[in-house]
């Protein structure tokens, strides 16, 4: 039983950032803008917010500091994503161009700035992890569910799940969501009934920036004690989760958990007696999440369809 608790707790560390970032990507793509800059935005959000923590941890700590850092990550990610929005929407350029540019700029700039801004001149930004919750009061004591979900947890896990619920509601149950989706499917039609396509697409990209920035922070906090200008390709994996989830919130949630579980097994198999005894080399285990995803995709993608206008610049003059 302990092994299962451990597995689920670990899984959250992998799945939640993927979930948050993939949901972000969903808002952008459903508004009609492909966002391959997720990786770069994650790096930016993580860098700014971890630098923030690193500078403020002498005066405050714990959940208050984490919540402030979350705000910083959200804002910095959103501001950075504006660069992508401007190129993709106003300049009507190929959307892979600005995405690639942002992915290149973010890690290099993070190293450059870290070495310039930090008194010791190193590129790693160190922080002390004071954010882990050993056991949530009351909830942590529930049998089974307690250890499964409310022990050894981070507040970011619950924020991630909350973001999922809100995203699904906003996308399918609000006027804003309907308008956003229409801009990703048929912007000309949306425009003809008075929806401002440019504005909706800006909203989509900015939400993706906010969530990707947050995802960067959420990824770094439980897995490390410093930030070294990388999120290990999680932005690209989130892109994969988004496509695996067929641009739909619930499927994205399932895809993120599926991938996170596989990834946990791959990295923690030595702690699980059954898997350890099999004697399979670690490199094979590390391949499992990716192979499993490919196999799952082979069976589930028949009807997969990206938002129809996703990646197509909208030109009002061509209506």
């Amino acid at each position: 039983m302990d092994a299962i608790y451990f597995l689920v707790q670990q899984m959250m560390f992998f799945s939640i950032p993927l979930l948050i970032v993939a949901l972000g990507g969903m808002f952008s793509e459903r508004s009609g803008v492909v966002n391959i800059a997720l990786e770069g935005i994650m790096v930016t959000g993580a860098f700014v917010s971890i630098l923030f923590i690193s500078n403020l941890q002498s005066v405050m700590s714990g959940q208050a500091l984490l919540l402030l850092a979350i705000l910083v990550a959200v804002v910095s990610g959103m501001l950075f994503s504006l660069l992508h929005a401007y190129a993709a929407i106003n300049l009507r350029s190929d959307q892979t161009i600005s995405g690639t540019a942002l992915n290149m700029i973010a890690p290099a700039a993070a190293i450059y700035l870290a070495r310039m801004l930090q008194p010791n001149g190193v590129q790693q930004v160190e922080f002390t992890n004071t954010f882990r919750i050993p056991s949530v009061p009351v909830l942590g004591d529930i049998p089974v569910l307690g250890p499964l979900l409310f022990q050894n947890a981070y507040i970011t896990t619950y924020i991630g799940l909350l973001i999922f619920a809100v995203s699904a509601f906003v996308l399918y149950r609000t006027r804003f969501g309907l308008r956003l989706r229409s801009c990703g499917e048929h912007p000309q039609a949306a425009d003809s009934v008075g929806i401002n396509v440019y504005k909706m697409r800006y909203a989509g990209v900015m939400i993706s920036g906010a969530l990707a920035g947050l995802g960067g922070l959420v990824y770094v906090i439980p897995t490390s004690t410093n930030f070294n200008a990388t999120v290990s390709g999680y932005g690209f994996l989130a892109l994969a989760v988004l496509i695996f989830g067929q641009w739909k919130p619930l499927r994205i949630l399932l895809a993120a958990f599926f991938f996170g579980l596989m990834k946990t097994i791959a990295s923690a198999y030595s702690g699980i007696p059954v898997l350890q005894d099999l004697g399979i080399p670690s490199d094979i285990y590390k391949m499992v999440p990716f192979i499993a995803t490919l196999i799952a995709l082979a069976f589930t993608s028949r009807k997969s369809q990206a938002p129809r206008a996703s990646g197509v610049p909208y030109d009002k003059g061509q209506r």
């Binding site: 190293i111 995803t293 990206a306």
Partner: protein, 377 residues
């Protein structure tokens, strides 16, 4: 005539992006350390020349793999596919060519490296073809397959190296390829060197750059002068229209990804069979950066094989220049920021092209207006 004009305005847009990116880089230099900023910019512009002919040789050496991955990404773009998997294809190509380079020593000397290179190309081709097959037959988005295959390639190669007798466990890398499998220098080391006393300090440049440029020219012919290339491009422009015209979309997708994979596979082979820093593979859990840099090269070169040769050389040039920035107390990461900014500014190309075309039109109208009275008189 119109085509030439369009290509020209596209090129001038790329040049403007480069100028704007360098200016922005200069501003960053000014902010971080004003005293050395001018010398810093000059160092970047000098690039390889900071170290004379040897430095220029290094530029060619670094340009080789990114020209190949640029061609790979650019080729896939032409068929409307985004090949974010050049990294995995490169690593598979590199691994197979190293394997052949180490083990197939029964091959006669001159043939060994050529066979190793070709096997690398085939391996990359197979890896790229999986992406095409998944897309064409199972409707799986090429981006997700590519990303998964990048990681599978990474761990698979580490696994295969460790279980084979290729493994040098002390250095945690594969053993070096046989001398016959190393790409010849083709006399380039007699051109790109500097003299240290009487000692020829030659650069790492080798025949790889000639192969890369040769393949780029081949791709240019394939895309622009053959029916096959036309079909691939037609699918990229408008897949519905091309289907109507009787072009098999599935076949185009599969072959295009296979060729793109093959190009990236050659990149890997040229990297790991190169004399100097190549010849073996380190066992580490990092995706090769050259694959992702290929995206930048392809975008800046507007996916045209000839453009890609120049952008590959340019990016290698300022990257080599960046290494010399450290003596001026700047960090070399600024080069990547500048490259990123240049690519970002190339997104303005549509705007710039419109502006140029509009200015041309205005000038023509004006000229016509001036012509008219003379005609009447």
């Amino acid at each position: 005539m119109d085509k030439v004009k369009k290509a020209f305005s596209g090129m001038s847009a790329s040049l403007l992006a480069i100028v704007a990116g360098l200016l922005a880089g200069f501003v960053i230099l000014l902010i971080s350390n004003p005293a050395n900023a001018v010398r810093g910019l000059w160092t970047i512009l000098l690039g390889g020349w900071n170290n004379g002919m040897k430095g220029m040789g290094q530029v060619l050496y670094y340009a080789t793999p990114i020209i190949m991955t640029g061609l790979s990404v650019g080729f896939a773009f032409k068929t409307g596919m985004f090949n974010i998997g050049a990294t995995g294809q490169l690593m598979m190509g590199g691994f197979v060519s190293v394997y052949v380079g180490v083990t197939w020593t029964f091959l006669p000397g001159a043939l060994h490296w050529i066979v190793a290179l070709m096997m690398g190309a085939l391996a990359g081709m197979a890896w790229g073809m999986i992406v095409g097959l998944f897309k064409a037959l199972l409707n799986v988005h090429e981006v997700i397959t590519s990303i998964m295959l990048n990681y599978i390639a990474l761990y698979l190669i580490n696994y295969l190296i460790k279980i084979s007798y290729l493994f040098d466990s002390l250095k945690n890398q594969s053993v070096n390829v046989a001398a016959t499998a190393v790409i010849p220098k083709a006399g380039l080391d007699q051109i790109f060197f500097i003299l240290k006393g009487k000692y020829h300090d030659a650069s790492s440049v080798n025949a790889g750059i000639l192969i890369a440029i040769g393949i780029a020219l081949l791709m240019y012919v394939l895309l622009n002068k053959t029916t096959f290339g036309f079909e691939l491009k037609a699918v990229g422009y408008n897949r519905h229209a091309s289907r109507y015209a009787g072009i098999s979309e599935n076949r185009a997708i599969i072959t295009s990804m296979a060729i793109a994979g093959g190009l990236a596979g050659v990149a890997g082979a040229l990297m790991y069979l190169a004399p100097a820093s190549g010849m073996h593979i380190h066992v580490e859990e990092v995706l090769a950066a050259q694959g992702f840099n290929g995206i930048a090269v392809a975008l800046l070169g507007m996916s045209s094989p000839l453009g890609i040769i120049f952008t590959g050389l340019f990016i290698a040039h300022i990257t080599v220049g960046g290494a010399y920035l450290q003596s001026l107390r700047y960090m070399k990461e600024i080069i990547e920021v500048i490259i990123g900014l240049i690519i970002y500014f190339s997104a303005f190309s549509l705007l710039v092209r419109d502006m140029i075309l509009r200015a041309n039109k205005k000038r023509r109208l004006k000229a016509e207006a001036q012509m008219k009275p003379e005609e009447e008189s």
